[in-house]
């Protein structure tokens, strides 16, 4: 289950990052960095499940924060339309929030 959650997070993160290459290179780099968080979560699987949960939770929070700020930025710049990159960003934001809430339950 954890592997599946991590893989979806990684796939969504990198896909959205790639979709923004032409629009905003620095934002792409940010998403790329945040997508590395679940990647390291996969590596931590062999050490501790709790550490993996930490990666899922923090990766989700970071994706949520980055996506929300970018959406606000797009709305403010009147460059907002429901194109593929933006839809992907929305999915990433919602997924990030969801997995962060789920993973938080593992901790006190």
């Amino acid at each position: 289950m954890k592997i599946l959650l991590l893989c979806i997070q990684i796939f969504l993160g990198f896909t959205t990052a790639l979709l923004f290459v032409g629009e905003d290179l620095l934002f792409t780099l940010c998403l790329f960095v945040f997508s590395l968080v679940p990647v390291f979560g996969l590596i931590d699987l062999k050490h501790s499940f709790l550490r993996t949960d930490a990666h899922i939770m923090v990766g989700g929070i970071l994706a949520f924060a980055a996506g929300t700020l970018k959406i606000l930025n797009l709305v403010a710049s009147t460059n907002f339309s429901l194109r593929v990159s933006v839809v992907s960003l929305f999915v990433l934001v919602l997924y990030g929030l969801l997995v962060a809430i789920v993973a938080k339950r593992s901790f006190k």
């Binding site: 620095l26 968080v37 709790l50 550490r51 700020l69 403010a76 710049s77 901790f107 006190k108």
Partner: protein, 647 residues
């Protein structure tokens, strides 16, 4: 008669929050150690008594080495108070009780305030107040500065304890230490000290505390301190053994598995991910502050332009309408239109600070800083520099090594403070409209690079120093409260608003007078033009004309004045707009050189004053002025030269 109370405790246990709750004041608080570097005072009336409360800087022990820690100890030693309230974190009593034992050993009336009790309950940590009080021999109060719990109880206890005689609490050490204490006490008998204080001085002598040793030696007492070698560690160990025994009785339930704070730390302070995450978050913060908030900035700018047009159309006197529209509104409005950006930046930084993330940033960059002969503690001063260089320079008091402290003082002014921000935003929005956020972020990144390079240079050339180790207690993560964020925003942003109403207003009027006279409106033959033309000779390589040169001269008073001056000099005639006039005068490359020059050149007067007061030597002020001018000139020259080759 007033009751004098001192609040002391480890860094970041909520002393200032408790001080605010007790006094009703609004001192700046943050979720990281070292915020209070000086003594703050407040008054509260309670049960008909006047209680004078003093907030001391955080300290772990009373054997202190950094300047802020020394402030706390010296206050307790030389300015006797009626009651000392030792504040300890409910989730880190182990460290807090060590300080408490040191305080009670001085023989002063002491109260233990166990703060953040609400957070302890949330984490299922139960504390037994009776057991704590019984074993420590002092009154214990459970408080929460956030919810206000226990504040009245604490005030009642202060009044009660102040009226009672001091209880003599003694920590019993092993036989060899007690014997050593007795020997030193006999030698100290010629100095007039109370029984408890004489024991405390003896302990500090045995611990080889340099200041106490000097104090004793200066009074003609001859003690061979070398015989006590290693006893200091033994005393500390025995105190901690005692604390462990007390906590075993008083803490009913302990945490066992990973908590949320530890889980977040596992990722945010990760060996490989920590720094990239920090950089990415900083980029997002700057992008939010400069791009997302832009419509608000445009709206404020429009308001000022509309007001200026209204004045010009309604006031018949050409001179008065020019003073109000071209002078005051153009100068002050040019700066105030960036208020949304500045508050947005502080909002994001406030959330990062309040949540407890910023100390982690210092922790993750410590390895890099150490290789540059600095510690993460210097990085905290650099972070403060994003707000204002003056408190950043003052915050270096927390750095224990004097050389490292001086290196940080000399490097911090290069960090882009909020005063430089309007200049960046103005030029970036005119010359790099589509990439304004990235350009401003780049300026901030460059300012960090220049600061660090300066630190390396000064350390290597002037001091050849080694850095001190970073010992930092990472605060727990917490959700920032709206109240604290508003307080943070106001404390940081109000300086900007006050400056706009005072220095920038006055500077705008002066600049208008210098631009209007003697040619009555012909700015190219004004006093300002004469000043600028003299300075512009050295600015020739960058292609800056007299107007930009004059703006840079006035910018030494406060960096925002550059915006006021540019707003007045360009588009003064009214035939073309300010932005059009400026973009016709300089190319984007020259604009970038100007940005770089503004980023690095002479800090404002207030910062120079802070450098003088912190170093106590004029030569460091002179060094800062000439060094920053040289760096700014060389960097701007490099931009023009390299840019000329590339473009």
């Amino acid at each position: 008669m007033a009751i004098k109370v001192a609040l002391c405790g480890n860094p970041n246990v909520g002393k200032t929050s408790l001080f605010n709750a007790l006094t009703g004041l609004r001192q700046y608080v943050a979720n990281w150690a070292g915020v209070t570097v000086e003594v703050k005072e407040g008054v509260r009336k309670w049960q008909g008594k006047q209680i004078e409360i003093v907030d001391l800087p955080g300290t772990y022990t009373l054997t202190s080495f950094s300047l802020d820690e020394k402030v706390a100890r010296e206050y307790l030693l030389y300015k006797p108070v009626d009651v000392v309230v030792v504040i300890a974190d409910a989730l880190n009593l182990y460290q807090g009780l060590y300080l408490l034992l040191e305080v009670v050993e001085m023989g002063v009336k002491t109260i233990l305030a166990v703060n953040a009790i609400d957070e302890a309950r949330k984490k299922n940590v139960e504390l037994d107040r009776y057991e704590l009080s019984k074993h420590l021999g002092v009154s214990v109060v459970f408080t929460s500065a956030v919810t206000g719990e226990g504040i009245e109880d604490l005030l009642n206890t202060i009044v009660k304890v102040a009226s009672l005689p001091a209880t003599q609490v003694r920590v019993n050490y092993s036989e060899d230490i007690e014997k050593a204490i007795d020997e030193v006490r006999q030698s100290l008998s010629q100095i007039e000290l109370s029984e408890m204080l004489s024991r405390w001085f003896s302990l500090k002598c045995i611990e080889n505390d340099p200041e106490i040793m000097e104090f004793v030696s200066n009074r003609g007492v001859k003690i061979d301190f070398s015989v006590f070698k290693g006893m200091g560690e033994k005393i500390a160990r025995q105190k901690y053994d005692m604390i462990n025994l007390i906590l075993k009785e008083a803490v009913k339930k302990r945490e066992k598995s990973l908590n949320v704070s530890e889980a977040i730390d596992h990722v945010l302070t990760h060996k490989y991910l920590g720094i990239p995450i920090f950089l990415a978050l900083m980029y997002l913060a700057f992008n939010f502050a400069f791009s997302t908030v832009q419509p608000l900035t445009d709206a404020v700018e429009w308001l000022f332009t509309a007001a200026a047009d209204l004045i010009k159309s309604t006031i018949s006197s050409e001179m008065i309408s020019s003073l109000l529209a071209d002078g005051v509104l153009s100068g002050v409005g040019g700066v105030l239109s960036f208020v949304p950006n500045i508050f947005a930046l502080f909002l994001i930084l406030g959330v990062m600070e309040e949540s407890g993330y910023l100390p982690r940033a210092a922790f993750v960059v410590d390895r890099i800083m150490y290789s540059l002969k600095l510690s993460g503690r210097s990085f905290m001063s650099f972070l403060l520099g994003f707000g204002c260089s003056v408190p950043a320079v003052m915050s270096t008091r927390g750095i224990s090594d004097p050389k490292e402290r001086l290196v940080t003082i000399l490097s911090v002014p290069f960090i882009s403070c909020s005063a430089r921000l309007p200049v960046y935003l103005l030029l970036a929005s005119i010359f790099f409209r589509d990439n304004a956020g990235t350009v401003v972020f780049g300026m901030y990144a460059l300012s960090i690079l220049v600061s660090i390079s300066t630190a390396v240079f000064t350390n290597k050339i002037l001091f050849k120093g080694e850095p001190s180790f970073l010992i930092m207690e990472l605060p727990r993560y917490r959700f920032p409260t709206a109240k604290n964020i508003v307080l943070y925003l106001w404390n940081r942003g109000k300086h900007f608003l006050i400056k706009a109403g005072t220095i920038i207003f006055a500077a705008s009027v002066i600049i208008w007078i210098l631009s209007y006279f003697p040619a009555r409106g012909d700015v190219s033959h004004s006093f300002a033009a004469y000043i600028g033309k003299a300075v512009s000779v050295i600015m020739k390589p960058f292609g800056f004309d007299w107007r930009i040169s004059t703006a840079l001269v006035f910018g030494v008073a406060a960096k925002e004045v550059i915006v006021s001056a540019l707003s007045m000099f360009f588009g003064f005639s009214g035939t073309i707009s300010f932005a059009q006039d400026l973009s016709m005068q300089i190319s984007p490359l020259q604009a970038f050189a100007l940005l770089v020059f503004v980023m690095a050149y002479v800090p404002c007067f207030a910062t120079l004053g802070a450098i003088y007061s912190e170093t106590g030597q004029k030569r460091w002020v002179v060094f800062t002025v000439f060094y920053s001018l040289l760096v700014a000139y060389l960097l701007a020259l490099a931009v023009v030269f390299i840019g000329g080759l590339v473009l």
